[in-house]
């Protein structure tokens, strides 16, 4: 379990980000390092002015999926951002913004939520990933 879990977050919908947050929190609770690399629409969702907003669901959710997620939220399920915050309290989770995606979105480090630890390129991501699995979400 010493090899890190490496998550590339591409999608910016709330369901995929929640799944990623749950996977990260589970690994962190086991003391396993987690590297999260934010690209494209996932990075956009981590903007300080947008992280608290609704980001929709993946297309396969459909209307029934929307109702199910709304029911969970109404029952008190916390947001993916809160799950990430609690997981980060355990330590071992590093969240990095992809520099190319930063250029694409036209944003700087100050535009990102404090959950994001820094900005890096894909080379640093690969080096830090070691021989651990890489998961694209």
């Amino acid at each position: 379990m010493d090899e890190p879990l490496n998550l590339i977050l591409f999608s910016g919908t709330d369901d995929k980000l929640q799944a990623a947050a749950v996977l990260s929190a589970g690994a962190a609770a086991l003391g396993r390092p987690v590297n999260v690399f934010l690209q494209y629409w996932a990075l956009d969702a981590f903007r300080a002015d947008r992280i608290g907003q609704s980001h929709g669901l993946a297309p396969e959710a459909g209307e029934e999926g929307r109702r199910q997620v709304d029911a969970l939220t109404a029952a008190g399920q916390q947001s993916w951002a809160e799950t990430f915050r609690q997981a980060k309290d355990l330590g071992g989770i590093d969240i990095e913004a992809c520099s190319l995606s930063m250029d694409l979105l036209g944003i700087g480090p100050d535009d990102l939520d404090p959950l994001v630890d820094g900005v890096e390129g894909v080379t640093a991501f690969h080096i830090n990933a070691g021989s651990g699995p890489v998961v694209f979400i």
Partner: protein, 78 residues
């Protein structure tokens, strides 16, 4: 009836996976070696999750039981 002295308690009822484990890991960090923690959970994944967490982190799982859909665990901080 509690045969094992409990030092700390965590009520994780109503919390969804993985928060019972996350909160357990957070609380165990604040505890001294040898202290025990009782966790009550309603997450159906808890039985396998607590067993796996105990094995991997080396904090012994002293008790694991369920009553209807409520699960009880006692862990000792290594």
């Amino acid at each position: 009836m509690e045969l094992i002295a409990i030092d700390k308690r965590l009520d994780a009822r109503g919390l969804a996976c993985p928060m019972p484990i996350v909160k357990t890991a957070q609380m165990m960090k604040t505890m001294a070696s040898g202290e025990t923690l009782e966790v009550i959970s309603t997450d159906a994944g808890s039985i396998k999750d607590f067993a796996a967490w105990s094995r991997t982190t080396g904090n012994p799982l002293l008790e694991s039981s369920s009553d209807a859909a409520v699960y009880r665990f006692v862990l000792r901080k290594a």
